[in-house]
């Protein structure tokens, strides 16, 4: 007899998608240094996104935005015990390999950074670490899941503090899922073609009425009310990027957004936590952004 130690399986879809399941009902906060990471953890973030510049600064400073310095990511991992995410450029599989080697808990293949490949996304099945990817509509979400994404976030328009694009994208994704549920089998074949996604995945979503992975909202959430609205729209949780640390009182705002996500359907709680938060981030109206500066149009 050989030894009967049960095999341990690492990096399975269940394990990857499972971590996102455990983040549901929570807030993931962008942080640019260990001090901000500490504030985020103290405020009740379920995870932090480690990056060198928040999207609002990437937007205002311009230039090519890349993966963060490994030293910065290390310092944030060392500071907190909640999961740490980090961003790789779309299609930049070597940045992703580096982030996996740094032991981040999730990689965000993100349109907030400059794309490294305008044709292909990263083959995410090749990694043990899970990936979250952005999507503006259901077809995009399904293509990312087909490539191995274990979590989807609607894109919104990062670094604006304008929630209107986040609203558009969650409404689009939810609406398209609802429409699939009403189709007959022969219509689903056409729907799969139109969505440019595998038939099996489309049929599964039509049957279950939901994505097979967790769906968070990102891009423009700046207030407790914004976050609660996204939860009422059916999001599983929210990413807050520039909205916290570009505001007047990041600690208070982070605390308030966490509470608003848990009590997203209780206006008296949302009202209470919205008091006295100081200045929200100034923000930019998405309608004032020329098309080349719209990050959500990166990725396909």
């Amino acid at each position: 007899m050989t030894e009967t130690t049960p095999a341990e399986q690492f990096g399975s879809s269940r394990v990857k998608r499972g971590l996102a399941d455990m983040m549901k009902g929570g807030v993931i906060m962008d942080v640019v240094n260990a001090e901000q990471a500490r504030i985020a953890e103290d405020a009740g973030a379920v995870a932090v996104m480690a990056l060198e510049r928040v999207p609002a600064d990437i937007r205002s400073q311009g230039g090519v935005a890349r993966m963060s310095d490994p030293d910065l990511i290390d310092s944030i991992i060392a500071e907190v015990s909640i999961p740490v995410m980090a961003k790789a450029r779309i299609g930049h599989f070597v940045e992703a390999q580096i982030l996996q080697a740094l032991n981040v808990d999730y990689i965000d293949e993100s349109e907030v950074l400059s794309p490294a490949d305008y044709v292909n996304h990263i083959d995410k099945w090749n990694f043990t670490v899970p990936f979250v990817c952005g999507a503006t509509n259901l077809g995009e979400a399904l293509r990312r899941i087909t490539e191995g994404a274990a979590m989807i976030r609607s894109k919104g328009e990062a670094g604006t503090g304008d929630v209107s694009e986040a609203m558009k994208h969650i409404r689009t994704i939810k609406g398209e899922i609802g429409r699939l549920s009403s189709l007959s089998k022969d219509e689903l074949y056409v729907a799969a073609k139109e969505l440019q996604a595998p038939y099996e995945l489309v049929a599964e979503i039509a049957a279950t009425g939901k994505l097979p992975v967790v769906l968070f909202v990102a891009g423009g959430v700046a207030t407790p009310a914004d976050a609660a609205m996204m939860m009422q729209m059916g999001a599983d949780g929210v990413f807050v990027g520039s909205g916290i640390f570009k505001s007047g009182n990041p600690q208070a705002r982070a605390n308030a957004i966490v509470k608003a996500v848990t009590f997203y359907d209780d206006a008296s709680v949302i009202a209470a936590v919205s008091r006295g938060l100081g200045e929200a981030m100034v923000g930019i109206n998405v309608s004032d952004l020329a098309a080349p500066h719209r990050l959500s149009e990166r990725g396909w």
């Binding site: 399986q9 690492f10 394990v15 399941d21 455990m22 549901k24 009902g25 015990s81």
Partner: protein, 197 residues
């Protein structure tokens, strides 16, 4: 008779679905008045430091501790196991637990997500068929005190499931693998506690 699932954060909907599939009336619990209506409670997986913070901010921490002290059945998975432990090792600064289980739990005992895994476990109290267990940045029970007993261990001997009277805790997540036996076992405790009165 209804059972509650603590719904401050985490995968509480998965637990609610399993419990409903087993015929239970389920109430999601975020407020003391909701806790007062249930005769058993599941504390889900999620981020224990967030649940702790929210429980204290919304006046639920003390009612939860009283619920455990009263002897009503409580089952915690992963973060829920941490919440039920008398001693938490490697919590965030200021992290507290409800307590009740005479154990010391190490939070995030395996390391980063790339070390999360699934495996089969023997859990004799649930029968011969192994439990397929998913460990996600999971805690481990480092010390099992005299009032608690281990229900399952990994191949290396580390304890990952415990029971103490009406309290039950697992490092892993039966709620996401279609494994119903822990929930059945928990509901059995709820039914028995109800008969006692």
């Amino acid at each position: 008779m209804s059972v509650g699932v603590l719904a401050l954060q985490g995968d509480f909907r998965e637990h609610a679905e399993v419990l409903r599939s087993l015929g239970a009336d389920v109430e999601l619990v975020r407020r003391p008045e909701e806790l007062a209506r249930v005769s058993g409670l599941v504390i889900p997986g999620g981020e224990s430091s967030v649940m702790d913070k929210l429980a204290r901010a919304f006046g639920l921490a003390e009612p939860l501790a009283a619920f455990v002290r009263s002897g009503l059945p409580v089952y915690g998975t992963c973060a829920g196991l941490i919440m039920l432990a008398d001693t938490v090792i490697d919590g965030i600064a200021g992290q507290e637990s409800i307590g009740g289980l005479d154990i010391a739990v190490r939070r995030n005992a395996f390391g980063s997500q790339t070390l999360s895994f699934e495996t089969d476990l023997d859990v004799p109290v649930l029968g011969d068929a192994p439990v397929h267990a998913v460990f996600i940045r999971a805690p481990v029970v480092e010390t099992v005190g005299p009032r608690a007993r281990a229900l399952a261990t990994l191949a290396d001997g580390r304890c990952v499931a415990v029971e103490q009277d009406n309290l039950l805790g697992t490092s892993f997540h039966p709620e996401i693998t279609g494994e119903n036996r822990f929930h059945e076992y928990f509901l059995g405790k709820v039914a028995a506690a109800g008969f006692r009165g």
